[in-house]
């Protein structure tokens, strides 16, 4: 057992956990942040994507102890002051989901790719989504949502500049 100290969605957290606890189980079962989903548990589907120190990672493929001292952001940490994150808004506006199970991972991956790439065309978005699977096969609207969000966020960043 190890006491893991980290920051989750801006809040300091200090919890004792087994060394073998995967980050996704730590978040879901110990912190009760169940927005992060477990789809395949084999690192292929991307439903468990969270940000660790600002980068998208699969939380089923890292141990909680590895996040010692890290800044972790989950889907619960995106909305601020009751206002949805622009990527969340774009998923709603474009109906970027069907059953919704993959959505948290899709959104966390989308936020990461927009941070790195800014406004993107559909081919780039599809390439960047290689690690996320939608079992409903609802990719068309997911890609539209990310395209829309990437444009909106880039425009608002330009206005602010």
């Amino acid at each position: 057992m190890t006491v893991v100290s980290l920051t989750v969605n801006g809040n300091p957290v200090q919890v004792e956990t087994e060394d073998r606890t995967l980050l996704v189980y730590f978040l879901r079962e110990q912190l009760r942040l169940t927005g992060t989903h477990i789809g395949c548990d084999t690192s292929q589907c991307g439903a468990c994507v969270v940000h660790v120190d600002g980068k998208a990672v699969k939380s089923c493929s890292m141990f909680a102890v590895q996040a010692q001292g890290a800044q972790v952001t989950t889907i619960e940490g995106l909305a601020k002051d009751g206002k949805l994150h622009p990527v969340q808004e774009a998923f709603r506006d474009n109906h970027g989901l069907q059953c919704g199970f993959c959505t948290p991972g899709m959104i966390m991956t989308a936020v990461d790719m927009i941070r790195r790439k800014g406004a993107m065309d559909r081919d780039t978005i599809r390439h960047e989504l290689e690690g996320n699977i939608c079992r409903c096969t609802g990719y068309v609207n997911i890609v539209s949502a990310i395209e829309d969000a990437s444009r909106r966020m880039t425009e608002s960043a330009e206005k602010a500049a």
Partner: protein, 267 residues
């Protein structure tokens, strides 16, 4: 899926990691963990201790010199893929790193982990072998030709820690892979390089149990560096991988096709 119990230790230097490794004979090094953790979850790997070397600053660097790019073992695929210096010196190497797994995997997975693990379908071993890279450990330097010894096996000894791979900058090179559409692992990948001394090396990953060179292709390309030169050269299918994704014969054909594409791009 829950792995067996183990003790997690974080090393802050190579010397400390070496000591920890010596103290735990059943221990394993953890870098990005993108292969090891999956194997532990399947309970195919059962290390007593995990020694995390991903935070060792001295193992995270990219140094481009006039003749070679030296990359620290804990450098991630993402860092190599997005390095302008790497792209400028060996664009095929940056490209190779950019098509490993997916973005989240590339944020964690490391060069050293990939090379030390020597998965039959991993991408980096093809670059190491084709570019005639030198592998440095805490004990010695190892030539690429002596490093990969078989499926998931290398010349690394038990308490040996891979610290750096130095890739000679070639005259030209290219990497082409036919990837499994689900896992992005190579069904067959060909790295073709013409080194500064004029020698040609062709390394194939994904097709066999371990990365291998194709001397017939190298000889043909030495005379005529065109895709046509390798178009009629087929590798023997016996001994190649055969699974639900493709037969050995199919992979043997892919080897020639990928080699042709790589040469066409490099030429």
């Amino acid at each position: 899926m829950i792995p067996y119990q183990f003790n997690y230790k974080r090393a802050t230097s190579v010397a400390e990691a070496e000591e920890m490794l010596r103290d735990s004979p059943e221990g394993k090094l953890l870098a990005g963990g993108q292969t090891l953790i999956a194997a532990m979850k399947m309970r195919l790997a059962n290390p007593s201790d995990l020694i995390d070397i991903s935070g060792i600053k001295d193992l995270n660097y990219i140094r481009v010199g006039p003749d070679a790019i030296a990359i620290g073992a804990a450098t991630t695929h993402f860092e190599v893929a997005t390095s302008r210096e790497v792209a400028g010196a060996i664009s095929a190497l940056a490209h190779l790193a950019s098509i490993i797994g997916d973005p989240a995997v590339r944020h964690k997975g490391t060069l050293g982990g990939s090379v030390a693990n020597n998965d039959p379908a991993a991408d980096y071993p093809a670059a190491v072998l084709a570019l005639n890279a030198t592998i440095t450990t805490n004990k010695r330097s190892i030539a690429a030709d002596d490093f990969f010894t078989g499926m998931f096996s290398t010349a690394l000894e038990d308490s040996e820690i891979l610290t750096e791979v130095s890739f000679p900058i070639p005259q030209k090179s290219s990497y082409k892979k036919f990837q499994n559409p689900a896992s992005r692992y190579a069904m067959a990948g060909a790295f073709v390089a013409k080194l500064k001394d004029g020698s040609i090396r062709v390394a194939i990953t994904g097709a066999g149990p371990c990365v291998f060179r194709v001397p017939e292709m190298e000889a043909a390309l030495a005379k005529n560096f065109t895709a046509e030169a390798v178009a009629q050269i087929a590798v023997d299918a016996s001994g190649l991988n055969s699974d639900i994704h493709g037969s050995a014969e199919y992979r043997a054909n892919l080897v020639t096709v990928m080699a042709k594409r790589a040469v066409a791009e490099a030429a």
